[in-house]
């Protein structure tokens, strides 16, 4: 389970996580994450065959609620802290052109 991460691995994870990292950050994360993952190798030695994974701290089922209209934020409240808006919308940078080949 112990993984020695390469620079390329770190850059790929950063891309998946949408994080721009400096070359220094890539290098320090590479060594730190490798050390942390080494520490986790101890889990691999543990037999968990047939053990139910625990996703929640308390057993629960999904609760349904009546589909009623209730109070909600106004458009102006919702857009109040937006970095950029256009009329009643969040404004974002150009999507199509720069993402060709993504």
């Amino acid at each position: 389970m112990a993984e020695s991460l390469t620079q390329k691995d770190v850059e790929e994870i950063a891309r998946l996580a949408r994080l721009e990292l400096s070359p220094d950050e890539v290098e320090s994360l590479r060594t730190e994450l490798t050390a942390i993952l080494e520490h986790m190798a101890v889990l691999q030695a543990l037999d968990t065959e047939g053990v139910e994974p625990m996703t929640h701290a308390v057993p629960m089922h999904l609760r349904l609620r009546p589909d009623n209209v209730g109070p909600s934020l106004s458009v102006d409240q919702a857009l109040g802290d937006a970095p950029d808006r256009a009329d009643e919308y969040f404004q974002v940078p150009n999507i199509i052109k720069t993402n060709v080949g993504e």
Partner: protein
């Protein structure tokens, strides 16, 4: 007890509430006393990231007027009427900046109150301001705050613990009557131990997470932090209970926790988990916890050794589960709807959407948050999911079973809260794993969803607080609080008016 105007700040929250209701003191007097204290003290401590003086005074006047109007019926006001409190800055407050101590939210003003905030408000509390923390509650020292360093009031060269370090520091240095923190892997209990206060992490689902900036949703809980067990019980009564806005909220009536405080521990069986006493614990911490065990025996509790064999797996399990959930939760900080946006290159060229995400998040998140997002993204990545994330969730089941087995024969577990007292500022910043180990005794409780609390149980020779941890059965808060209260009474930690008998040094002039 004659108390001068300035001494009001030392009283417990329960005592302050009693005096306000009795008309012996006004909420304005209390609020002014705390604002004066903050002005004197917080330059040295760094507990507050936002102080809302004018708003607090207006609110205090409102409570005082309501009290005058409730002539003869002060009980119509909430149980915290007029009491000045402050909140960890990860709890969302309408109209008041909420930063999570992150540059990515530096100027965010939320349009709504979280459930715990509106419940405190309904109970009549006055909000003084917002308190420092590790960025997005990720850390054990509050050094990961992007805003400022927070210091331990007992020794200002040391950390207050974290991530709710601002809450612990403000409470113990009498800069608010009480506070709320959040606890994902020890973030209430560990700073409470480092600062010598009482802090309780409730059973998962007991307190609503609506309006709490999410770190790891299956682990996060909000809980009270205060100077006395009674105050913790009082605050828990106010914030606990079903909330339709949180899909994991438990639908069950909330007990009056204060009624449990006099029950004592006679007849209780307290388990002492071997794994929490086996080496690596500072000698002074071990001694203080041993003394607490002897005290419980004197009080009529039976103590028995128990084993939680999967304890050593808690740290790796936690650091897969929590970062995985964090990487998903923190995806919302993308520069679109609120918070920071970076949409230009260094030479002012406009970038497209994908690069805007990356630049915003690269500039907005600090080193520890990036580390955890990276770790979580790695653990959830296709091809690695089974070996890491799924494996950790299976081990989580084994950790929970350890507790289930132990609780078949014991009512409570007792252990040190932390392996050491507060460490020095800067001591563990160079090595992330070293920092993670500061939470080694508090992680399992969150993984299993149990309630846990820190109870101050002594001091080192150099005057640093030591804490013991009580862990309860699911929804076992009453037993835990009863045991904490019995201990607090027995050692005489709290004097008349709810004033702690030992206090940190005052402002150095």
């Amino acid at each position: 007890m004659a108390v001068s105007e300035t001494d009001l700040i030392y009283l417990s929250a329960a005592e302050q509430a009693r005096r306000v209701r009795a008309g012996e003191v006004s909420s304005r007097q209390l609020t002014e006393a705390y604002l004066a204290r903050i002005a004197d003290m917080d330059g040295e401590i760094g507990a507050y990231v936002t102080i809302e003086g004018d708003r607090a005074l207006a609110r205090a006047d409102h409570i005082d007027a309501a009290l005058a109007g409730a002539n003869g019926h002060p009980d119509q006001l909430g149980p915290l009427a007029g009491v000045p409190i402050a909140l960890k800055d990860i709890l969302v407050t309408e109209g008041i900046k909420t930063t999570a101590a992150s540059a990515i939210l530096a100027d965010w003003i939320p349009p709504y109150d979280g459930t715990v905030v509106s419940r405190l408000s309904r109970a009549g509390a006055v909000l003084l301001g917002k308190l420092n923390l590790d960025e997005f509650a990720m850390g054990s020292s509050t050094e990961n705050s992007a805003i400022k360093t927070c210091r331990n009031p007992w020794d200002r060269s040391r950390v207050p613990g974290g991530s709710s370090g601002g809450s612990a520091a403000a409470v113990v240095s009498f800069q608010c009557a009480a506070s709320l923190g959040t606890d994902t892997g020890g973030s209430i209990r560990q700073p409470s131990a480092f600062c010598g206060i009482v802090g309780l992490k409730p059973t998962y689902g007991l307190v609503s997470r609506y309006g709490v900036i999410a770190f790891a949703s299956s682990l996060d809980q909000v809980g009270p932090m205060a100077r006395t067990v009674e105050d913790v019980a009082l605050l828990l009564e106010v914030i606990a209970g079903f909330d339709p806005h949180d899909s994991t909220s438990i639908d069950r009536p909330v007990p009056r926790y204060r009624d449990a405080l006099g029950r004592g521990v006679s007849g209780l069986t307290i388990g002492l988990p071997d794994e929490y006493f086996a080496g690596g614990v500072d000698a002074e911490v071990a001694r203080a916890v041993e003394a607490a065990i002897a005290t419980y025996q004197t009080l009529g509790a039976k103590t028995v050794p128990v084993s939680l064999p999967h304890t050593k797996y808690a740290l790796p399990t936690y650091y897969l589960v929590a970062p995985a959930e964090a990487s998903s939760n923190l995806a919302r900080f993308d520069g679109v709807r609120y918070g920071l946006r970076r949409s230009e290159t260094d030479d002012s060229q406009k970038v497209g959407l994908f690069d805007m995400y990356c630049k915003t998040r690269g500039a907005g998140f600090g080193p520890e948050v990036k580390r955890r997002i990276m770790l979580g993204t790695f653990a959830l990545r296709s091809g690695y999911y089974d070996a890491y994330y799924l494996k950790a969730q299976q081990v989580r089941t084994l950790i929970r079973r350890d507790f289930e087995r132990a609780f078949e024969t014991v009512d409570l577990l007792l252990a040190p809260t932390t392996p050491t007292p507060a460490f020095a500022v800067g001591e563990k910043m160079a090595n992330p794993l070293d920092m993670y180990l500061a939470d080694i005794f508090t992680l399992s409780c969150n993984l299993a969803g149990l309630p846990g609390m820190n109870v101050p149980c002594g001091f080192t020779e150099s005057g640093l607080p030591i804490g013991m941890q009580l862990l309860g059965k699911p929804l076992g808060e009453e037993t835990m609080l009863a045991a904490a209260a019995a201990f607090e009474r027995e050692i005489g930690a709290i004097g008349a008016g709810g004033v702690p008998t030992r206090r940190p040094p005052e402002v150095s002039s």
